[in-house]
């Protein structure tokens, strides 16, 4: 026996209203640049923005071409070649990023520094063959490392290295800056919700439905997530000592060098920072890996709306400060 529609519409429980199946999936639009994966994450219901994501990801290519130290013709390579001879004029975008790097260098008491390549090289991390160098090698490298060797002339938009041997490397801030550039382009195209990320270490949320994008902070050295948080309209940067490291006398040395001592940073295995933009979060995560809890405490006190999550060598995870952009749902202590 068949039942007419009216009967059906008036009997029985109404099933729960579920969201559309499209809302149940993530779309990951991705592109390789800067030797890593850049990604724009869209919720399924925002799939009409796929073309905008594709378009915005070109920013990563453009900035890679300008900032890579692996290309002889990049603006940064030209600086490394010529800026010790005479001031070199650069594009406004690069000048602004270097000015920001210098500012963060000051605010982190020198823990964040884009001139540590000579130190990384003497520890073998550039060639990916870690070794413990002689003290004389470390001192020689330290002599040319440090942003105090740089003169930035805002009026002339020039960069000058005051000593020969200075090497710029934007590795600890460039991915974040590229993520910001991609996010800005998406926002201009009318995208209201997206998570832009690079290498899994740098991310920026545009909006974020349902309380924000769920982010797990992980480390290759720890087999469980260190923290779970929700990111909404802010940026995240994560650094760690895990992947590239050397062990000497039972002690693990990560590939991130403390420019102030010339030795690899120790004490912290993972540092995550939530800040307003991805370039800052990216840079600060490196700084916190080096500066540890002392710097995190000092920085957060002086800079409200900054959240730092550190996992120390004894695998304890602690937080400093707070951010409106992030809700910490769980911390693995």
């Amino acid at each position: 026996m068949l039942v007419d529609r009216r009967t059906l519409l008036t009997r029985g429980p109404t099933p729960p209203r579920t969201s559309s199946p499209a809302a149940d999936v993530w779309l990951r639009v991705h592109r390789a640049a800067m030797a890593c994966r850049f990604e724009v994450l869209l919720s399924g219901e925002d799939r009409r923005h796929t073309a905008a994501a594709h378009d915005a990801l070109r920013e990563a290519d453009r900035l890679d071409a300008a900032w890579s130290i692996y290309r002889d013709d990049s603006a940064v390579s030209i600086l490394n070649r010529d800026a010790a001879d005479a001031p070199v004029r650069v594009e406004a975008e690069l000048f602004a990023l270097l000015a920001r790097a210098a500012d963060l260098w000051r605010r982190t008491d020198g823990a964040f520094d884009v001139t540590t390549t000579p130190l990384s090289r003497c520890w073998g991390f550039v060639a990916r063959e870690g070794r413990v160098p002689a003290d004389t090698e470390i001192e020689a490298a330290r002599a040319v490392a440090g942003l105090h060797h740089l003169t930035l002339d805002a009026a002339a938009r020039t960069v000058h290295f005051r000593v020969r041997g200075v090497e710029l490397n934007l590795g600890a801030i460039g991915k974040g800056a590229a993520v910001d550039a991609i996010a800005a382009r998406l926002a201009r195209r009318g995208v209201r919700h997206a998570l832009v990320s690079a290498a899994g270490s740098s991310a920026r949320a545009i909006g974020g439905r349902d309380g924000g994008f769920a982010v797990d902070v992980t480390s290759p050295l720890v087999d469980r997530p260190l923290a779970r948080l929700r990111l909404r309209g802010g940026a995240l940067g994560t650094s760690g000592i895990g992947v590239q490291s050397i062990v000497r006398d039972g002690r693990r040395f990560g590939h991130v060098i403390d420019p102030r001592t010339g030795w690899p940073a120790t004490g912290v295995v993972s540092a995550t920072v939530i800040a307003a933009d991805a370039a800052t979060a990216d840079a600060l995560s490196t700084a916190m890996l080096i500066g540890g809890p002392a710097l995190a405490e000092r920085y957060c006190a002086a800079h409200p709306d900054t959240l730092v999550i550190l996992t120390t060598e004894d695998r304890r995870t602690v937080r400093f400060g707070a951010s409106r952009a992030a809700l910490v749902e769980a911390l693995c202590t």
Binding site: L2, V3, L8, L9, R11, G12, T14, P15, P16, R17, T18, S20, P21, A22, D24, V25, W26, L27, V29, H30, R31, A32, A35, C36, R37, E39, G44, R47, R48, H49, T50, A51, A52, A53, H54, D61, D64, A65, K175, L195, S197, A199, G200, S201, F213, A214, V215, D216, V217, T218, S219, P220, P225, T238, S239, G240, I241, G242, V243, S270
Partner: protein
């Protein structure tokens, strides 16, 4: 403004009817429609045919949308396997039938899902529609063109929903590719598409009958082998063109917003001369208006290429692979870097956090991490089936148009049925023009 559920349904229905003729809004219809039956509880449905494909659909049937009341299959072993799928999906028990006619007579059903061998689609669909039931019928629509047209005419006359099961229409990767890339003009002018479905196997099933004295002859299968391997016999099947190509021609029709006008075909039984009647290698070129072509190939001798659809445009190339990944390559890139592909992947949200943040990962490692496991890919494909069955149930309640109703599905069916003849004659045949446009 406060609307009653009925008013909401009517408003949505009117809106969707208004936009139904606008092909580019098909995806919008899916997104706004498939939100669950608006009132009246889950739709009471019956399954006819619960073999491999039927059980995939059964596994994608959400109890919030559908109450599976009964299942019919001439093979009791399939019914037993289907019971396990129902239980796993959180459904109650369904009544078993060997005869589908008995099932639709005895049970108070609203909708039917048909996943039988192809040759039965027309007879069962028409009988169900005439009995006042809405129908979701597996692809291909019917064994012959006349059957397709009778199904469409019956759906129109009875006013019941008829949806044909091309799950790519419900797949978010395809929807994103269409809306975000093809429709947005990112590819430029597309003159060529390649449709490939390559496998390395004999397509022959093995298995014992459900009982030693099992006799399927009263259902038109002289032996157990004919039932088990119905896909290999012309009486029941149209071979690889129906089972594989029709999915992909459905996509090229969708993305080209057109139907092919002619098909050039060749092929044969080249590898498995084991008594089968359908070809194991087929090459067919579908010619679309505007100088566009879709070149299809299927082989049963090499699986290197697997299955994909590619759209080659003057400005870019779109690759849709394995029903779960999409890639975009820019044409004429000035630098090798710019020629790198942009990829689009789809991943269930239930699979984990939006981002697993850690210290920098190299490109290849991150790619693997985000692409997910093989299980993730299966989940994606299942999501499309789930959306398809849920969408059907919503349509039963609201009467709203679906993503692959008879007007859309018939285009792919007519093209592939004509291709069967073109391949048999190794020739070029015109395809009945405007099949889907007839109203």
């Amino acid at each position: 403004m406060h609307l009653t559920p009925e008013e909401q349904a009517t408003g949505r229905r009117n809106f969707l009817r208004a936009v139904a003729g606008v092909p580019v809004l098909a995806g919008l219809g899916a997104a706004s429609l498939a939100r669950g039956p608006i009132a009246g509880g889950p739709v009471r449905i019956g399954y006819i045919g619960v073999g491999g494909e039927g059980r995939v659909l059964l596994g994608g049937t959400d109890p919030a949308y559908a109450h599976v009341v009964a299942m019919a299959d001439i093979n009791p072993a399939q019914l037993a396997l289907a019971d396990a799928v129902l239980e796993k999906g959180g459904h109650g028990k369904a009544t078993h039938y060997a005869e589908w006619r008995e099932m639709i007579q005895k049970e108070a059903l609203e909708g039917i899902v048909i996943a039988t061998p192809l040759w039965m689609h027309t007879e069962i669909t028409i009988a169900c529609l005439e009995a006042g039931l809405h129908v979701l019928c597996e692809k291909m629509m019917a064994w012959d063109i006349e059957g397709c047209e009778r199904m469409r005419a019956t759906a129109r006359r009875t006013g019941k929903v008829l949806e044909i099961g091309y799950q790519r229409n419900y797949n978010t990767v395809y929807q994103a590719a269409h809306e975000g890339i093809v429709k947005a003009g990112v590819l430029g002018d597309v003159f060529m598409a390649r449709l490939a479905w390559h496998r390395n196997g004999n397509w022959r099933r093995t298995g014992d009958p459900p009982a030693a004295n099992y006799d399927p002859s009263k259902w038109g299968y002289p032996t157990w082998e004919h039932l088990l391997n119905w896909r290999l016999y012309k009486k029941y099947s149209r071979g690889l063109l129906a089972e594989l190509a029709s999915h992909q021609v459905n996509v090229s029709n969708w993305f080209f917003q057109a139907e092919p006008e002619a098909v050039i075909g060749t092929g044969g039984i080249y590898r498995f001369k084991d008594g089968r009647e359908v070809d194991d290698h087929i090459y067919a070129t579908f010619e679309y208006p505007g100088g566009r072509s879709a070149v299809f190939s299927t082989v049963e001798s090499n699986a290197f290429e697997r299955n994909y659809e590619v759209f080659y445009g003057t400005r870019g190339t779109l690759l849709l692979q394995g029903e779960s990944e999409a890639y975009l390559f820019e044409e004429g890139a000035a630098t090798p870097a710019a020629a790198r592909p942009t990829g689009v992947e789809v991943q269930p949200k239930a699979g984990g956090p939006a981002l697993s943040a850690s210290e920098s990962r190299a490109a290849d490692a991150a790619g693997r991490a985000a692409t997910g496991s093989a299980a993730g890919v299966n989940l994606d494909r299942l999501a499309a089936y789930r959306a398809e069955v849920s969408g059907f149930c919503s349509a039963v309640r609201t009467g709203a148009p679906l993503l692959c109703g008879p007007d859309r599905a018939i285009g792919s069916a007519i093209a592939c049925i004509t291709a069967v003849d073109a391949v048999a004659g190794k020739t070029r045949l015109p395809i009945r023009v405007g099949a889907a446009a007839q109203s």
